[in-house]
């Protein structure tokens, strides 16, 4: 197995007297999809914010490509190659796909006062990158607002990949999507993994995680309950661990296995 791109050891995060994270160990290797599973309130969001440089951990160490590292800001993490696609996506519905794709990082041509946004190149790159992800845009000037949720997710992922992400953190990318769109996003994750990028897939849906995950880590009450590889664990077992043991099994029994 290759060495992990990023390794987070025994991360703790306290907010005053609230312990949000109490010893989380997590790593991602190139070309794998590592799923972080946990119920609402388990500490998933706090953890990914620590990983993407938004929060600094109270305790614990982060090793990035073999070297100890501490991110001062989200920008540091972004420059190191850790891209996060948050649920709100950082997309502007009124702007075109191209303008969103290159927002803040516009390609230019010309010099001095004639330096201008190279819109033709930008359009071309956007169309190609989106096609690689399996989405055929009507045109590069199509507004993001006209895209479906899954397509927007894909634009955000494509943007992160294009700008050189080594680790891609996806915060519940499938939680608000329909069946077909979920399948598309999972296929996108598969493609991105194929390009050698380490994907961190955060979800509370075991079935979505099982569909693409190589390894699974369960987070419960701010602690990791261990990591399992694909094939070592069943969906039912993961579901149980997320819910924190017995009650879920009982509840599932009474509901006839519908959860």
């Amino acid at each position: 197995m290759t060495a992990p791109i990023i390794h987070m050891e025994n991360i703790k995060k306290h907010y005053g007297n609230v312990i949000a994270l109490n010893g989380v160990t997590f790593d991602v290797r190139a070309g794998e999809c590592h799923c972080l599973l946990g119920d609402n309130g388990a500490g998933k969001s706090t953890f990914i914010k620590t990983m993407s440089g938004v929060h600094k951990p109270t305790e614990g160490s982060i090793t990035f490509e073999g070297k100890p590292l501490s991110f001062q800001s989200p920008r540091d993490a972004m420059e190191a190659g850790i891209a996060t696609v948050f649920q709100d996506l950082a997309m502007i519905p009124l702007m075109s796909v191209t303008r969103n794709f290159f927002m803040g990082r516009e390609p230019t041509k010309g010099k001095g006062i004639f330096k201008r946004f190279d819109i033709d190149t930008a359009n071309e790159i956007t169309m190609t990158e989106m096609r690689k992800m399996g989405i055929n845009l009507r045109g590069p000037d199509q507004a993001v607002g006209t895209l479906s949720g899954g397509e927007r997710q894909t634009v955000a992922i494509a943007r992160a990949v294009y700008f050189g992400a080594k680790v891609l953190i996806l915060d519940e990318p499938t939680s608000a999507l329909g069946v077909r769109q979920t399948a598309n996003v999972l296929a996108t994750i598969n493609r991105v993994r194929g390009q050698g990028i380490g994907v961190v897939f955060i979800s509370h849906n075991v079935r979505h995680a099982m569909a693409v995950g190589d390894r699974f880590t369960v987070l419960n009450r701010g602690q990791t309950l261990g990591t399992a590889s694909r094939g070592e664990i069943t969906a039912a077992k993961l579901q149980d661990m997320m819910a924190g043991g017995q009650e879920m099994a009982e509840l599932e029994g009474s509901l006839g296995g519908t959860i």
């Binding site: 709100d88 950082a90 502007i92 009124l94 096609r131 690689k132």
Partner: protein, 368 residues
């Protein structure tokens, strides 16, 4: 699925006609408005309205408003308002008047100084908005009163009690910069055209239109530069992004604070430019200068397709919005209608534009 099969067009997407594409441009409403207003005055107004001198007549106020309107449009696209620009015209006019009349500065010092002070005040507006997180509507409403009052107090202070400062024309006469900020340009072209019999001239051979008023040239140049910046530069992309969703823009690396402060500086400087042009033109300045201009500028921007919520709009739209304004204000004097219909027309136009913009926005974002 391979890339080849995807390269085929999606069968569910109908090809868009040129008309449908045009329907999505923000400035469409304003251009349609110009056509409608032109047709209206073609029918109702005296034919002299659309002669060269008639056109200059309504383009001059259009240009004065338009420079403010384009700046206001850029600020609105960036997601903020500036209600203090009308008062800024009065305040900058007062400063400029004091500089050239009381202190006797040459224009090459007085103009940059006036612009710089206005820019600093604009930056202050922006800083307060960003620091407090309050809506710019309220912050600049305070500016509206503060600057108007300061202009009044300043005028009384420097004139010994009067609210009007005279003698600007005499003070700037002969200054080499004066022709850039006042009077008519391209007079030689007009004389040449008059000799050739292409434009109307008086019996003496002097052309009826002595030249193009400089503010019209400023107006056209500003509209072109603003459009270029918005559509073809990274900064333009940042302005749209900042207005569309400032948090998303910030997370993507757009310098949101710098963009907003620069836009506040731009609107303030546009107001100062109008102050300089109109004060030299009138030869005096008074405390009522620029009265209500902040609202008229915003109306021009909205007619031009700007959304009140930011992130969408166009400088060319504001350009045409201001022309509609000029045509209606001046045009009514060429008709038999009571001139005071102007305000009724203005309100109706604003309401119509806002409703129309909302429809366009839904069309662009595909909301149903």
């Amino acid at each position: 699925m391979s890339i080849d099969t995807l390269a085929r067009a999606d069968e569910r997407v109908k090809s868009e006609s040129v008309f449908a594409k045009l329907m999505k441009r923000p400035e469409l409403g304003a251009i349609g408005g110009v056509v409608l207003v032109t047709v209206f005055f073609m029918i109702t107004a005296d034919h002299t309205m659309f002669t060269l001198s008639g056109i200059m007549n309504f383009m001059t106020p259009a240009a004065q408003l338009g420079i403010l309107g384009i700046a206001a449009a850029m600020l609105m696209i960036g997601g903020e308002f500036d209600l203090s620009i009308g008062s800024m015209v009065a305040f900058a006019g007062m400063l400029f008047g004091v500089f050239v009349v009381n202190i006797g500065m040459p224009l090459i010092v007085a103009i940059p100084l006036t612009l710089a002070i206005a820019a600093a005040l604009g930056a202050t507006n922006g800083m307060i908005v960003l620091r407090t997180g309050l809506p710019s509507f309220i912050v600049t409403l305070a500016g509206l009163f503060v600057l108007r009052g300061a202009a009044l107090v300043g005028l009384k202070l420097f004139t010994g009690g009067s609210t009007q400062l005279r003698g600007v024309r005499e003070a700037v006469e002969g200054d080499f910069l004066a022709p850039i900020f006042s009077g008519d340009a391209f007079g030689f072209v007009m004389r040449w055209l008059a000799e050739a019999g292409i434009v109307d001239s008086f019996k003496s051979g002097v052309p009826k239109v002595p030249g193009i008023p400089v503010e019209i040239l400023w107006f056209v140049a500003f509209a072109l530069i603003a459009t270029y910046i918005l559509l073809r530069t990274p900064v333009g992309n940042w302005i749209f992004a900042t207005g569309g969703d400032s948090l998303a823009a910030k997370n993507s690396g757009v310098p949101v604070r710098r963009v907003k402060i620069s836009l506040f500086m731009l609107t303030a400087m546009a107001a100062a430019l109008i102050a300089i042009i109109t004060v030299i033109d009138a030869g005096s300045t008074d405390a009522r200068r620029g009265f209500m201009k902040e609202f008229e500028a915003i109306i021009a921007a909205v007619i031009g397709g700007c959304l009140l919520t930011g992130g969408y709009g166009s400088a060319i739209g504001a350009f045409f919005g201001a022309i509609i304004f000029g045509m209606v204000t001046i045009g009514l004097t060429y008709t038999h209608f009571d001139q005071d219909w102007f305000q009724v027309f203005l309100g109706a136009m604003l309401l119509l534009a806002v409703i129309f913009n909302n429809v366009i926005r839904r069309r662009v974002t595909g909301e149903r």
